[in-house]
């Protein structure tokens, strides 16, 4: 059976982390403990929740970023899959030796098309 975990700390069962995670909202724990502050916290949370809906009002205007690789390996074409599940099912042993340059499938969702590059980019961004 596979075990599910949300962070490496949780996987390692770090006691200090588990205590913190048990509080559900560690950053708000102090405020939530005081009754006078409690109302304000809940109000702010409700407001945040309500305003979260506003982010849906995007008409597709430009925004966001384009993050190219620093050095692009020749075998990776932006937007094309190198691996797909069906490929692994058909010939896992072959793939372990040499990933083919051709692609069998073109995913419809963009985010799925870049498994490796996306991971790399996020890693690059987070390390900034």
């Amino acid at each position: 059976m596979t075990r599910q975990w949300r962070s490496l700390d949780q996987l390692a069962e770090d006691p200090s982390f588990l205590a913190r995670a048990a509080q559900e909202f560690p950053g708000l724990a102090e405020s939530l403990a005081q009754p006078s502050d409690r109302r304000r916290v809940l109000k702010l949370m409700a407001a945040a929740f309500a305003m979260g809906g506003l982010t849906g009002c995007d008409a597709g205007s430009p925004g966001g970023h384009l993050i190219p690789a620093v050095r692009q390996p020749p075998s990776i074409v932006p937007g094309l899959v190198r691996w797909s599940e069906s490929m692994v099912r058909v010939a896992p042993t072959v793939l372990l030796k040499e990933p083919p340059a051709i692609t069998f499938a073109s995913p419809k969702s963009r985010i799925l098309a870049w498994p490796r590059l996306v991971t790399k980019m996020f890693a690059g961004l987070m390390s900034r």
Binding site: P62, L66, I67, R71, G79, L80, K108, M121
Partner: protein, 217 residues
């Protein structure tokens, strides 16, 4: 006991009513116009970038082909942005100490990618594929405008559903001969093959190009 309302209360009531009506009218006007003007789509807005890259200089001035940097445009949905390494193939030799290019050098040195700000974007529920448009005779400038006249890049077309459908309903007149795809200044002339001839040449029209599932998958 004195009068509850002073004489100016009449004026105040009228002004309040007028003001409310005015606000409502303004709201309706805004609600109707905002999605219909190009301002909301950031058309022709230049966006600040980590490096003020000039397509005008590189494309029109130096004659670099689109595909030198946007390498994946013929094979992928994504045109692809040039890796820092591509910039440095030339800029390790020329303008090696230009302060404008410091972010590119830094990117290569630190192995951290450059982060460009998007100027063209489509909503997530739209499927768009660059390669099929290139393969079927739609040139870059049909959607991106005269990029070789842009000192700083900007969004040149609205890229709305209306914009897409205008062409998908009748692609013929926008199709180009294969050697003109990357010509930013291409215009239909007397020598250009007829729309019908180009449509036949590219085998366009086998599917109904206005089917919902063509773009919304």
């Amino acid at each position: 006991m004195g009068a509850v309302f002073r004489p100016y209360a009449n004026l105040l009531a009228r002004l309040t009513l007028l003001g409310t009506a005015g606000l409502l009218a303004a709201g309706v006007v805004w609600w109707w116009f905002a999605p219909r003007v190009d301002w909301a789509r950031h058309l022709r807005w230049t966006v600040s970038q980590p490096v003020p890259f000039s397509h005008e200089h590189h494309v029109a001035g130096l004659g670099i082909d689109c595909r030198f940097c946007h390498t994946a445009v013929e094979v992928s949905w994504n045109a692809g942005m040039p890796p820092s390494h591509t910039c440095m193939t030339c800029h390790s030799q020329i303008w090696t100490n230009a302060s404008l290019l410091a972010p590119v050098r830094q990117s290569l040195a630190d192995d951290k990618p450059l982060v460009w700000n998007r100027i063209n974007d489509l909503p997530q529920y739209v499927y768009f594929n660059h390669s099929i448009h290139i393969a079927k005779g739609v040139g870059c400038s049909s959607c991106h405008g005269e990029v070789d006249r842009m000192p700083l890049s900007y969004k040149a077309r609205t890229l709305t559903m209306q914009f897409c459908l205008d062409c998908h309903r009748d692609p013929g007149p926008r199709l180009r001969p294969p050697d003109q795809i990357y010509n930013m200044q291409w215009q239909r002339t007397a020598d250009t093959p007829t729309p019908a001839a180009l449509t036949a040449y590219y085998h366009v029209g086998g599917r109904n190009l206005t089917d919902c599932s063509i773009c919304h998958r």
